[in-house]
Symmetry: C2
Subunit: 162 residues, 2 copies
């Protein structure tokens, strides 16, 4: 069983997720803002990550491609805000153009150098949301968060957080 | 009764709107893209419109303020895409920070120099959607669209469209 709690309520165009990390929230935030760090964790491990653009500020844009030997998957969107308790961005998979979702994320302080990422995704329809779940989004997110976990451990001086 | 068809289905976080205009869709599109034109129609007639920024391209941002003698209301967001059949942007009223919605609009060709703007708005929750309806959003939209109607008539050479 994964460490990410994922809720996709029947008949509603939402996906809610929660994941706890063994790192202070400022460091987690940095891993979302800094393209050098993003490229090391965002997305499933099996793909090569090509980060074309990651301008994580209000009004900035992003685009990245996940690729393996067989296929390439492009994603892009814009950042509406990127403060630690209100990261808001659009998301579009280029394989399904015109189907855009809105991701709202907050990083909470759990104390003792730990933090929680809460994510609320809003889709244009319940059908869009269901398609995202069926495309294996849960596994991809879990894999990416596991990589983020490992990256955060590397970024912290040993024994610093507890 | 207004000329805009507005649907807010109970229990769903959506607002759908349709409005027909007596102008070709390219001209309507221009009225959405060009800040000089946007400032002449966007929002209720009773407010002065102050357009701080309107960079209507993929990855661009916008901000405007509606004000009268008593109050000021700021709005801002980012453009995800602005093609004629897929205009996608975020929307946040600064009086309710953190409540962001996603607007998806398309301008359809009705033939004979007429066009239809279809709008689909997606909110973070049903409560957010209901608050928007209760804030009188329908009247504001109707008023803005009526101004757009008048602007489009001025922009077209007399007798050119039929």
């Amino acid at each position: 069983m994964g460490k990410t709690r994922i809720i996709a309520p029947p008949g509603e165009p939402f996906i809610d997720m929660e994941r706890d990390f063994d790192a202070p929230r400022e460091l987690v935030h940095r891993a979302y803002l800094d393209p050098e760090l993003v490229t090391q964790w965002l997305g499933p491990r099996k793909y090569e990550m090509v980060l074309d653009q990651w301008d994580a500020r209000d009004g900035g844009a992003y685009r990245y491609v996940h690729r393996d030997g067989q296929s390439e998957h492009g994603f892009h969107g814009v950042f509406h805000s990127m403060s630690i308790d209100n990261m808001v961005q659009t998301f579009e998979y280029e394989g399904a153009p015109g189907h855009v979702s809105l991701d709202i994320q907050a990083i909470e302080d759990l104390g003792n150098g730990r933090s929680r990422v809460k994510s609320h995704s809003v889709f244009m329809s319940v059908a869009d949301r269901d398609a995202m779940v069926q495309a294996g989004m849960g596994e991809g997110v879990e894999d990416g968060y596991n990589r983020l976990d490992e990256l955060l451990a590397k970024l912290q001086p040993v024994g610093a957080s507890h």
